[in-house]
Every structure is written in C-alpha cells, then in structure tokens.
Subunit: 416 residues, 2 copies
C-alpha cells in the first residue's frame, strides 16, 4: 500500500525517490497522482515526507487535482539553465534536477522510476551523476521494485476500482456471447453477420471495443480474441480476417483498464460455438477441472507458486508438458498460473516456479488464476481466468462471476 | 523517413541503435514495427543492415507481422544467464544484451531508444557498460534524437494514416456540434440533456469518447473540452461536473490516435453556444484573423519559427503579452504556434522562438498551426488549430477541412 512506501524506501536505504514522466499511463506516477493531464512531470518524495509534484505552468491546475503539493519547473528558469548548460538540453535538465534536489536537501541513495522515453533520461541522469556526486542514482528491476511491493497489497478503495472494471468486463463478455450465439449459420458452419455475409473476427473485435468504450473502459493493451490455431498460441491476439465458425475453440482474454492508465481487470473464457470436437471437450474438461482444484486450494498466506506446482502436477498427470518437465514448452501448459493485477496488468505477487518466497497470498493482494492448455498444431487452445482478492479478513473472493460453459448453444442452429 | 536512419546513424557516429520495450504505444518501436502485441522486445539495428526484433517465444507470431527479421530471446536461455548473474535479474538482462551484441558483431557507439520503465533499464545498462566496455551507450534528448529527425518527414503512406485520423476527427467534431446545438435550453441558459436535466460536460465527453471508439480512434492522451476559465488554461481538460451554458467559450482540442500507438491528428475549434459576449467576439476575431495571416504566410522550406515570430507580432500589435514580451506569460498568447504530428502528438519540426534553424517547412513534414489567446481571469480562452502537410510537390495542404464558426446557433433557442 502507499503507506508502505517509507518503509520500503528505508529497506533499500533510499533517502528519496524520483518518478519521471506523465501522470497518465505511467504506473508509478499514476499510482501516486491518480492521473490527470500532467506531462513530463517529476515527482520527488523524500523519506518520511510528502511527495512534491513538479510540472510546467500550463498544467498547474491538472496537477493540483492529484492532491499532492505542486511546484512549478518555472521556479528554475530554463533560459538561465540552458545558458549554464551551453545549450545542451540534457545537461540543462540535469542542472534543474540538481537544483531541485539541492533545495530539498536530498543526497545519498535515490531510487529512479517512471515509464518514459529512455534516451533523454539516460543522458540527463548521466550528467546528474557528474554534476551532483553526492547523490547515488539507483535503478531497480521492475519485478522487484519498491513500487511493485507497495502496489502488491491494495486498499479497499483500489479494489473497488478493480471490481468495477470486473463488472464492466463480464457485461462485455456477456454481450459478446449473446451476439455470437444469436447469429445465423451459413455454408461450412460459418456464422453470418446481420447482413447475411460471413462474420469476420475483426467485426466481433470492433463490437467488443465499442461495448468497452460505452462503459468508459479502455483496452489499453488490446485483448485476445483468437480462434483455432491462434487460440493455441497464448499471446496471439487473433486475425481480423478469420471467419467465425462452429466447433472451433475461441480464447477470449480481456483485460480492460480505467482511462488514463488506472486499474485493470483480467478475465478469460474459452468457447466453442454450437458444438465441440471430442478432443476439445476432453482438454477443456481438464482445464476446468484443474481450475476448480486450484480454487479449492487457495490458502491465505500460502506462497503463490504453490498454485503453479499444483497446476503442473495436475496437468502432468493428464500427460501434458509443463514448465517443470520442459524448459520452454511449445505445447501443453506453457506459462505461469497467475499474477497480481492493479495499475499494471502484470504485477506482484508472481507465481512462476522461480518466484521468490515472499510472493504470498496475503491480505490485500489481487491475483489471477489462469490454467490453460495449448495445442496449436491441433488447432486449439484453452484458458480459464478469473481475478480474486484476498480481502482484509483473509477470505479469497472472486471479483466478478461469470459462467464456465465451454460449448455455447447457437439460438438458430442445431446439430443435424 | 525510415530510409534516413542509416545516414542519421552515421551523422551521430553510431554503429548500432537499440530500441527497447513493447511494439505498441512506444513511438520509436511502433514506428519501426507497425505495432502488434509484442512486449518487452529489443530491436537491434546495425548500421547499413536491416533491423532484427528479439522477443519472447509466446509472441513470435505477433512479432512476425512486423515484417522484420524476428529472433527469440530463448536463443540465450535465461536459466544459464541467471546463474552467471548470481540471481540478479538486471545483470542477467545485461548479459543477454552483451551476448546479442557480441553475436551481431556490434561495438563502439550505440544509441538507446524506447518508451520503457526506467528503473530496470537504468540498472541493466549500467551493468552492460561494465561487462561490455567495448560498447559506448549513448542516450539522446528526445527533441533532437535520430528518431525525431527520421519521423519528421513522412512517406505518403504515413500521411494517409494521418489524413484518415483527420477525417475521423472532423466527423466527431461535427457530431459534437450537432449534439450541442440540438439541445433544449433551460433556466440560467443551461443546456438540457435528452431527459431534460442540466447537461454536464462529462456527459458530452462520454459521447465524444464513444464516437471515437465507433471509428476505431483512441483518445490515448485524452482530449480537451473545457469551458470558460478552464478554456483559458491551455492544457486544462475540463471539469466533468461543469454545466454546459450558452455564451461561454468552449475550447475543443482533439488529438485522436490510431489504436496501439499509431498516427495522430491534431485539431482545435473554439465555440460559444447561442451567442458570445462582445469581449469574446473581439478576441476570437483576433485569433481567427491571426490564423488566416499565418496560413497565407506559410512558405516552403521556411524556418517554422517564422510563424511564431509572425504570431507574436500580430498579437503584440493587438496588445497581448507573448513569449517575446514575457518570460512565462500567464495570459495572452502563451505557447508556440505549432509542432510536427506523427506517431508522437508533439514532434519535429518545432516552432518555438528558440527552436534550431533546421526546423523547416520542408516537403514531407506534417505540422499544426494553432494560434490562441488565454484570459483565465476573464473566464475565457480561444484556439484554432489545423494540421497541414507539406506535400512532395511543396504545396502546403490542409489535411481535414472544418468550418471556423465561433458562435454556434442553437436550433431551439433564440436571443430574446
């Protein structure tokens, strides 16, 4: 939680942290500011003190909405700094940063964060290290960074945001199922659109985008709606020209976000329209049964990777390759069982076999559980994913309920 | 243009460039890959050779859509690298990068690009400098970077993308005008929604979002739809709870982008519904007249800042503060006259008074022209903005036409 930041800074021996970039679509900055149209800002937080947000004059009002203390870059007139820097913009930015840190009495170890354009900042920080040797600049790997630890446990107000995105997600998934199952079916078991033409996957994706927009949810990292062989490659988003057909697996993995880089939800269902092949029914059954066993075996404060180990055991018993049996499996069960969800679609806690022991199902975490099986050469893939919250009472709570039906009966078609 | 990259690399004495991060929403990477769901990729381009895109196994199919040569990180098994790195993830990433660069025969000066999370990359690059001293890592300030020079001049196919976003923009602006002018007007000159309740700005913004989504355009950096005092602060996006009223200035600055971080369009109109105050009419007239004079004075291969100088002359003659008369004016004309537009909403050429001499209106550039006047204390602001292309024949072409009316007559209201 945000209230953990000072302790996390202390544990890293940081005297201050700096977050660079826009207030929006920049996880650590959005997390601390709540977003807003503030660009190229610098957030400075000294240990045990409130954060200060530096921004340009024109964005003072937007910055003030963050509730943080706002100061203007204009306190450090760039014209003079540029002269001191002999016209070098990167050095100028470094001199301004040096002045800000000096005025705030910051020296020693300083952590660096922010989703930004690398080149200029790399140059600026190189200059800063030279012009301000009293500061030691420290970059942390994202996966183990202070922010991912703070973000790992959510306040109830944050969970309300995620739950709301979950509500929107299942509405949109329901509309998609309703649209697909209401279609007429033409030659070669191809679904037909309203005008009677073969229905393309791209058209369905367009509708999903629209249903999200109507609900003010943003597919900021896209979504996966993929068929057959593509469904067998976990991150293929689907080919817009594919035709929608009966009896092929559809993996629908949707992870909408609040506008401006807010909270995500993460959800997957696998469908087969009208009927399913015996092989698909068998594999879906294995995934669904694995999912059920995983949910029964989520325990408060357990290491998240216990779920990964259990998944491997289950799928190996069914005869599939897993990350335990193969280094980089191309088919079978080929990813990890879940991840934290917040203002990052993937964040702590991690569940991979090599995840650190401190990735626990502790109160406050919001996680996905997403077993899947992938057989691209057989033209099929399967995944079930839901988002769960370990609430402050230690109960592990599903944040949005949706049925697990695999075969969706078509309203206007029957197997002959 | 992309074909300039090798010469731009030579002029900087770069033996290679590295672009880090996702294929989407990452201007230099999106520019070279065309987007797609490829995350945490590394693009390596050696001087005078084709670029190679490194990605994870699961994203090989999405990466292949770029048309670039694709290689997998899995060629460098992370398990062994992590052992060599004693479990340090940042060092592991540095060792992998060292191996990639070594295998490709890269040493000497290497430029660094990509919109990424700073911390981990800062750490990785620090390690890389130590484990591979034969490489000199160079960050460029974004404003003067090789990519902003390459992107500055557009191929015709790129302009087609921008023109298409322009077509969508004016459709959405037209729908907005039509919606507002069709409203009934209630007490205190407040517009009423379909149900007869006072119309809030947030509702109008919601409709604009929907109209954009229907057209597959993304307000990735939001848009400005701001009233009265907020219209007088150039980057205020507007307060959703404000009521829509007659006779107040509305600044509508909309800059939609293709999904996944593609091309932008940039456009502004200022409106006053039903009627305008005499002061607003006078100031809008000055902005409109300034805009017309600027367009008459756009000349092939002229420095872009000539337009800024002319704008200052015009507005100063009307008695307004400008960036020439005040260091950081709080009212009057308080920004620069335009900027390039592409996969960045703001890119070369620059038009500020201090812009370098090489920011020229040369064939291939796509620019905005956007004079404005801002008087927040008087509760008003004004801006007119269009996007122009200097085509290969040297003609300066408006990319989307839309009327310049300031007072929009209400269909169901007349001044009494």
């Amino acid at each position: 939680m945000k209230s953990d930041l000072d302790n996390l800074m202390r544990s890293r021996n940081f005297n201050a942290i700096l977050v660079f970039g826009n207030a929006e679509n920049n996880p650590p900055m959005t997390y601390l500011t709540g977003g807003g149209h503030v660009t190229s800002a610098t957030l400075v937080k000294k240990l045990d003190q409130d954060a200060v947000l530096f921004c340009g004059l024109m964005e003072r009002d937007e910055a003030a909405k963050s509730g943080l203390k706002v100061r203007l870059y204009d306190e450090y007139p760039w014209q003079e700094l540029l002269k001191e820097a002999n016209g070098d913009n990167s050095l100028m930015a470094a001199l301004r940063l040096r002045n800000i840190l000096t005025d705030m009495g910051i020296q020693g170890r300083v952590g660096l964060y922010g989703h930004i354009e690398l080149g200029g900042m790399f140059s600026t920080l190189g200059h800063l290290q030279k012009v301000m040797p009293s500061v030691e600049l420290v970059g942390e790997a994202r996966e183990s960074s202070l922010f991912l630890y703070a973000m790992e446990t959510k306040e109830d107000a944050e969970v309300a945001h995620i739950r709301n995105m979950g509500r929107i997600t299942i509405e949109v998934v329901g509309l998609t199922a309703q649209y697909l199952t209401s279609r007429a079916v033409g030659a070669d078991e191809v679904l037909l659109d309203e005008a009677g033409a073969p229905l393309k996957l791209g058209v369905v994706k367009g509708k999903i985008n629209l249903w999200l927009a109507e609900r003010n949810a943003v597919p900021s990292e896209g979504f996966i709606f993929s068929l057959g062989r593509d469904a067998g490659v976990p991150h293929s988003q689907g080919n817009p020209d594919d035709l929608m057909r009966l009896g092929q697996t559809i993996v629908f993995d949707i992870y909408p976000q609040e506008p401006g880089g807010g909270y995500f939800y993460d959800f997957t269902r696998t469908w087969s329209l009208g009927y399913a092949t015996p092989q698909a029914l068998k594999l879906y059954g294995q995934v669904h049964s694995c999912y059920d066993r995983l949910i029964e075996n989520l325990f408060l404060n357990a290491p998240f990777k216990d779920s990964q180990v259990l998944t491997c055991e289950i799928f190996e018993a069914d005869g599939h390759a897993t990350p335990r049996t193969h280094k980089a499996p191309m088919q079978g069960y080929i990813h990890s069982i879940g991840h934290g969800v917040g203002v990052n679609i993937h964040e702590r806690p991690w569940s991979g076999l090599t995840a650190a022991e401190d990735n626990l199902l502790k109160p406050g975490v919001v996680i996905t559980i997403e077993p899947g099986l992938y057989y691209p050469e057989q033209g099929m893939g399967f995944r079930i994913e839901d988002t769960y919250w370990v609430n402050p009472n230690g109960k592990i709570e599903l944040l949005a309920e949706y049925p697990y039906d695999f075969v969706l009966p078509m309203k206007n078609w029957k197997a002959s």
